[in-house]
Amino acid sequence: MKTEKPTDFAATLSRLLRMMKPERALLAGVFAAGLGYVATWVTVPLIFGRVTDLIFTGVRGTGIDFGAVGTSLAWALAAIVGSSGFAWVQGRLTAVVAQRLAFRLRERSADKLNRLPLAYFDRSPRGEVLSRVTNDIDNVSEALQQVLSRITISLLTLLGVVVMMFWLAPTMALLALITIPVAIVITRAIAKRAQPHFKKQWATTGELNGHIEEMYTGHALVKLFGRQREAVATFAQHNEKLYKAAFRAQFVSGTTQPAMSFVGNLTYVMVAVVGGLRVASGTMSLGDVQAFIQYVHEFNHPITQLAAMTSIVQSGLASVERVFGLLDAEEQRPEPLSPIPLGTVRGRVAFENVSFRYSPDKPLIEDLSLSVEPGQTVAIVGPTGAGKSTLVNLLMRFYEVSGGRITLDGVDIAEARRSQVRGNIGMVLQDTWLFGGTIAENIAYGVDDVSRERIVEAARATHVDRFVRTLPDGYETVIDEEGSNVSAGEKQLITIARAFLADPAMLVLDEATSSVDTRTELMLQQAMSSLRQGRTSFVIAHRLSTIRDADVILVMDSGRIVEQGSHADLLAADGHYARLYAAQFAQPVAA
């Protein structure tokens, strides 16, 4: 995968480490077990060296002392079993730490989602937020598991091996250590040469995938216009470019391994020669040379491991950084310290000189005033971008007003808890959101512990019951992720049933219907109007019938209410509404 680099490595890392604080005891355990592992393990080559010396002197002298060999091997056995045990404990503890940390990151991100203002979701592309809470967190937990388990072992092993090498033969150890900078220089040089090829590989992969995606999604068009040959020709060009870039990238980066083993082999030859000379001159025992060779071997291993981990660490930290970015995003305004309790309201709503803006220079709503009596239906009409949705978003306290106030039964909604404001308002959006559960669960979404009878009752009142009964599993039909087993119109009906069951004092409805056929639309309309009975309703209206029946029509344009009144009044006034009406509905079917 593409390795991304975090922008501030140190800060992100130290913050991640701070997050591990609750696991301090476990981390200490991880470290202690790792230390135990290395301490026991480094003695093994040494003991084997002793055995070699015993055999060596035995062969040259009076025969091998198998009693001494046996004792030594018994010690080795104990060290082997001990170090394996430590390694096992270390691995298990690491898994616990890594998984707890991943758990906490997920938990915090999910909690954060609930505290972010809606503006955050409206401003950043949906896919972006999603990718942070899913892909990035997955990446982090994967990296944590891999890195945490290996990094302590690798570092401690490296340390232990170096200590042993110097203890056995300092000059030879120095010789062996010289190869480290050589290895680093070589891998760096290779990585540097491979980098542009990798970049090119990712860029061409992007181009190729883009072409594939377009040609497959627009497949019918390619066929209709008979352009398959051009599609294949363009593909072949991208494909060839990708082949060349990928081949070079793979080859250049692939030479790292032979280069590293070359360096390793050089060390091996060097140690063999110097060690051989020293044994021959009697300044070092054969067993010590053997032990030394094994340390050299084990010394290369953690280095390659650590090198392999750098890309995992980098991409993991880049993900962590993005998750932290989410966790640091500004939250919605805290609830008032002593909120005014808001029970079930009657539904009198007043907007008093309300204004709203995202950024200071771009007012979205300006000086808007409005009062609505309980039970009235308010139809909001106007062109796209007029501020219709903003108006209801302010009422729901999805956005906070920048000036003026909104009252509900005389209480400023900013002085009450959000949950109490929203609990009074039912909402049906054009974007029909259902979660992956059964139809019954979806209808019952807004309320706790509701009986099947009440669910069915709500379904009957909103035309849901009829089509649910035609489904093989009825109310237990599971809505899958895309909701493909239920049509768009039926989904909308379910959202209406959901609001019906919640039985709120007020309603916010968005009428814009996606392409549903006319008969379904009729049902939708009937369901919505039965839902409106006796409730103060704000309707972003598209249907003439709704608009005509409304008690108040608000005509909005550029964040202001430009006209307000009943259908007849507004037609008579011959202003905005009359023009809008003429444009939208002047060519109805001749009766």
Binding site: V51, K223, Y445
Partner: protein
């Protein structure tokens, strides 16, 4: 992703076919890997020689000369290894390229039906990620899978060369390691599957919470969602911890087997040396070979770990490559149309394989140049399917479809596609510019042609308002223009190609009433001699049609003009009335 049963042997079949052109390179890779492995196996033997003949005899010249040989062998090793990687990378990437091209070209032959059966997203994954997997396993196979057995066998031979009786240890040690690793990995297999399921569940919940954030807040369900998520999150942690703990066994097991076998070699080797059957240098070399054999065993085990994913991917790729299109081009296709603009559908039927009910049953549709024919019916009545039969997006499973006086199955694809202009329900634009999209069906059209088409399609005004006008960039799928603009551009695109027959599949739905009316008026004026077939929801769109065909559950239940159908046809009347109520109530 593993939604289909694994196709046994798919990976082998796929590789066998696509590796064939690279037999030469593969042979070179194998030779180079042999040389490379041999060189690295030689080093311990040379070291043993240093000990036996140099160190023990105190012969420093021997030490220097042998180490010079060791250096040379090391050089040979690095050069051959690098060359092996060169050829492996070239072959593996070429195989990836070839498989990818084969998949893409196969998909280009698919009809809309096969594409729909796979689904575009699934085909995209198959062409990109799945091929990538196959490419990766090829690289791995050439770079390491070839070496593991060479190293293993070579190590055994060299070990035997040092001392035969001691080599009996291998019979115990190697299977022990292999079996222990298999046990751990087998335990991890299903657990890894569980982990993926839990991850999917957590991700699904988060996705739901983000897409449904307004609903969650409107219904004050934050706490409920938090609890739901905490459950899923906890479950994921539990299963992932299981895998982590099993994985923690890996290092200790490897360590235990390796070091214990070292100890065994020391003990039994000591006995052999004592008996004078073996030199002490050989003991050194033997230890080395044992490690190499065990390492290659480990390498092979990890390689096997990579196989399942590649196998699944290969199966998914093979599924595409073995799917044949249902729309077959005739052997000697007709390229001349005797009656351009004539559409005659007689008794056409369409049924998905295995479906109980046909989508279309015994449908007749006639359209003539200069006339407008409309098709109406509720959702699911088969209108779009009927329209799709004309340009052969798929083929009728019964009856006959004639365009321009010829059965579409006899027509050359190019002739058919230039005869028909189709404006789909969900218009799709390609990334590029407005001009490149408009010229899609007619690359030679002049700028005037484009502007004219835009004018008829009621798109001239908004294109003129763009700073780059015709060269204004279009994002993938047309994401940077509104639905209505997209629809008008798609209409203009069809107009530029100047076909004899126009098919409008509910192409006016995203337009407001006044634009819809202006567009229809312009089309009526400009398309005088063309054949027009319109599928529409809005009755106002099709009232003036010369002939209206009413579909209900895949059957024609009425044909006639608006006035005729209003008096004779119940279904038609019901559709008209339901709209009437919606718009006028």
């Amino acid at each position: 992703m593993t939604d289909e049963p694994e196709r046994r042997g798919a990976l082998l079949r796929l590789l066998r076919t696509h590796l064939r052109p690279y037999r030469g390179s593969i042979a070179i890779v194998v030779l180079l890997q042999l040389a490379q492995t041999f060189a690295s196996l030689l080093l311990p033997a040379l070291n043993a020689d240093i000990i036996n003949n140099g160190v023990l005899e105190g012969d420093t010249d021997r030490i220097f000369s042998t180490s010079a040989v060791m250096l040379a062998v090391t050089l040979v090793q690095v050069v051959t290894a690098a060359a092996a990687i060169y050829f492996s990378a070239r072959t593996a990437m070429a195989v990836g390229r070839d498989v990818r091209a084969a998949v893409f070209e196969r998909v280009q032959t698919f009809s809309v039906r096969e594409l729909g059966e796979f689904g575009a997203p699934s085909l995209i994954t198959r062409t990109t990620n799945d091929v990538q997997q196959v490419q990766m396993i090829t690289m791995l196979a050439l770079a390491s899978m070839v070496t593991a057995p060479i190293m293993g066998v070579g190590g055994v031979i060299m070990a035997l060369g040092q001392d035969v009786p001691l080599s009996a240890l291998l019979i115990v040690v190697v299977p022990t390691l292999a079996v222990a690793m298999r046990l751990i990995l087998r335990g991890m297999g299903p657990l890894a599957g569980f982990v993926q399921q839990r991850i999917d569940r957590v991700n699904r919940m988060l996705r739901e919470q983000i897409t449904g954030i307004r609903v969650v807040r409107a219904f004050v369900r934050e706490d409920h969602e938090r609890e739901r998520f905490a459950d899923a999150n906890g479950e994921l942690m539990g299963v992932a911890l299981g895998v982590g703990k099993l994985m923690a066994l890996m290092l200790p097991v490897i360590l235990l087997v390796m070091e214990l076998s070292n100890a065994a070699v020391m003990w039994f080797g000591g006995l052999r040396v004592d008996a004078g059957a073996m030199q002490i240098g050989a003991l050194f070399a033997f230890l080395h070979y044992l490690m190499q054999i065990l390492m290659s065993t480990l390498m092979a085990t990890f390689m096997i770990l990579q196989l399942p994913r590649a196998r699944v991917s290969a199966g998914r790729v093979e599924k595409v490559l073995t799917t044949t299109t249902s729309v077959v081009v005739a052997e000697n296709p007709v390229t001349e149309l005797p009656r351009p603009g004539y559409v005659d559908v007689r008794g056409a039927g369409f049924r998905y394989p295995g479906a109980e009910q046909p989508v279309l049953h015994d449908v007749d549709l006639i359209a003539r140049p200069g006339q407008t024919t409309a098709v109406v019916g509720s959702t699911g009545s088969g209108k779009t399917t009927l329209l799709n039969l004309l340009p052969r997006l798929f083929d009728a499973t019964g009856g006959e479809v004639r365009v321009g006086g010829v059965d579409v199955r006899e027509l050359a694809p190019a002739t058919l596609s230039s005869e028909i202009g189709f404006i789909p329900q969900k218009p799709y634009l390609f990334s590029g510019t407005i001009a490149s999209n408009l010229r899609y069906g007619n690359p030679n059209a002049s700028d005037e042609d484009l502007w004219r088409a835009l004018e008829i399609a009621q798109a001239r005004d908004f294109v003129e308002a763009l700073p780059e006008r015709l060269d204004a960039p279009i994002g993938q799928g047309g994401s940077n223009v509104s639905g209505g603009q997209r629809q008008r551009l798609a209409i203009a695109r069809a107009l530029v190609a100047k076909p004899d027959i126009y098919l409008f599949d509910d192409s006016f739905s995203a337009l407001d009433n006044s634009t819809d009316a202006a567009l229809r008026a312009a089309l009526a004026k400009e398309l005088g001699g063309a054949t027009v077939i319109i599928v529409a929801q809005r009755i106002s769109t099709i009232r003036e049609a010369d002939r209206i065909v009413v579909l209900e559950a895949g059957r024609v239940v009425g044909t006639g003009t608006h006035a005729e159908l209003m008096t004779t046809n119940d279904t038609y009347r019901e559709i008209v009335l339901s709209q009437h109520t919606v718009e006028m109530a």
